[in-house]
Amino acid sequence: MPEWLRVILFIIFVLSFAGLNAAYLVWCERKGAGHIQRRIGPKEVGPFGLLQPLADGAKLMSKQLFLPKGVDPILFMVAPLMVMVPAIMSFCVIPFSETFVAREINLGLLMIFAFASVNVLGLLLGSWGSANKYALIAGARCVSQNVAYEIPMLITTITMVMVTNTMNLNEIVRSQAGWFIHWHIFRLDMSLLMPVSFLIFFVCSLAETNRAPFDMAEAESELIAGAYTEYPGMGFGVFFMGEYANIVIGCALTAILFLGGWQAPIPLNFGGFLGVLWGMSWFFLKLYALIFTVIWIRWTYPRTQFYELLNLSWKVLIPISLFNLILTALQIKIFPWL
């Protein structure tokens, strides 16, 4: 396959994957919430309400893109894109299976974190540009939350890079081949606190994507809709898609770093097209199990208070992840054969 065709096919795949995921994760979320709350959820539009996302999309798109009085028009329009585009960009290094990856970049992990940091800038500009006090409070919260949670997340990632010796996501997955006990979460011989690392990483990815119980940017009972308060129609829709794309990226990274990515739990691999399907199905299984957990948490717990959220990061997660980093470094130095 020529390189240009491959790139075009991947652009189409990634865009449709991100779009469909956003639309159908909303459906999953509403269905999941419904069943958690002893009701049915969407059921009228199409079988099992499966066409509901399309109806929602049509509604959002047909709404007027209204510019409220006093907003900064450029920032107001650009901000949703700054949340959406970096999230889609990150998909190009995610290995869906051993061969099904747009670009196997050696610094893939670094690239994802670089793009993930743009997300908060988009939210901040959007909330500043809306000239709304609630949005402004949400924007300020967003920044301090993202700064606080990026640190333990990155420290944990450094730990993972130390034990795997690579930043190439596909290499990280390849190093977890074999039975499921070779997945990093079970590799206590690599780092004693591996399950703790997993937990820290997962909690941080919840906070980074502004999901409950850390949904400070939205906080609907306090700040109305937080940073999205003034956004009409598709402006809000794009923010929303960006948020869901970020959830997918966060869960995909968790699956790749700790749960073996596209590796099956048994040492069985196929070549060719069957191998792609086999790898992809395991990857998606892990990915959606994690996403379900995210949804489950949201519909079970109340929201944390903001200073509790920061305390958790600065007083608990950062010290633990630093300790973990030092412990792992010592472990690598003292027992280099493991």
Binding site: N132, E222, Y301, P302, E308
Partner: protein
Amino acid sequence: MNGTLQQDVNQETFTLNLGPQHPATHGVLRVKLVMDGEYIVEAEPVLGYIHRMHEKMGENRTWAKFLPNCGRMDYLSALSYNHGYVAAVERAAKIEVPERAEYIRVITVELNRISSHLLWFGAFVLDLGGFTPLLYAFDDREFILDLLESVTGSRLTYCYFRFGGVYNDIDDAFIAGTREFIKKQRKRMPMYDALVTKNIILIKRLKEIGPISKDMARRYGATGPVARGSGINYDVRKHEPYSVYPELDFDIPVYEEGDSMARYMVRMDEIEQSMRIIEQALDKLPEGEIKPKKAVKMVKPEKGDYYHAVEAARGSFGVRLVSDGKNQAYRLKLRSPTYSNLSLYGEATKGMLLPDALALMGSLDLVIPEIDR
């Protein structure tokens, strides 16, 4: 809410309008906040958005015609309001109430109190960002609404009590249904305990947040769960007994802490106490009439000044009647509990963070139509 973010540059504070349309105020309440960042410098509740002049209405219609208004003030515990008004008129016009009617009143009022507390529980956790308990609470509340619908004919704005009795007798199906509800609800409460009350996030958000001191509660005339959460042991049912409450054995839950958690715990405990009251009342329910033998046709209380208070779900609800001997009131003054409970909001929230202040507002259990009568 448009434009000028830069107002008050020198003082570094800004004004934030919380409401009249805001998800946390549960109605058309507006709170004018002067904020320093996320800290509240000053909070001033602005009332009157849905004022409907209920007191004035009481002065220009006959005593009986005012009855339907009672269900439209506190729409969540409408029967307590029915009870307060009816009891005040009965005291003024010296109307005897058959014992069975009194028991039926107590049973229905307590059922209504449970449904009100359940709804509050759900809405309060919703204020804190937890969506699911609301629907669980609605599920339980539905059972009560069905029961009350079967005897009163309506589900929300009841107009069930009459001068000298009640409109409709309760039947065996209602009694069996009520007993079944209590059995079911006793099994549900441990689930709420595990899912919500013992949740670490909820405890961190409520413990030692929004303290209302005993002194502050007294100064503003707070009653009901708000006062009892601040260590004031005051419940009209016990301290100025009316109806058949003296014959029933129940406790008044009082917590000394005065924080949002204390008010939460008071209401959760009151659900159990109300169930105890209902059980005893059902056991003791006498046979007999539900209306006076000689029907009450034209009520004309003697000239005078009368007051009667009842314990509604949110605190003491008092009715003051001034009668000049005609068939309508000369003056009707309604004392609603949340009006007093809300007035301490400005003092209690000084220096508080916005989310904590909203948790405090939720714990006051506001029903706006009752504040703006």
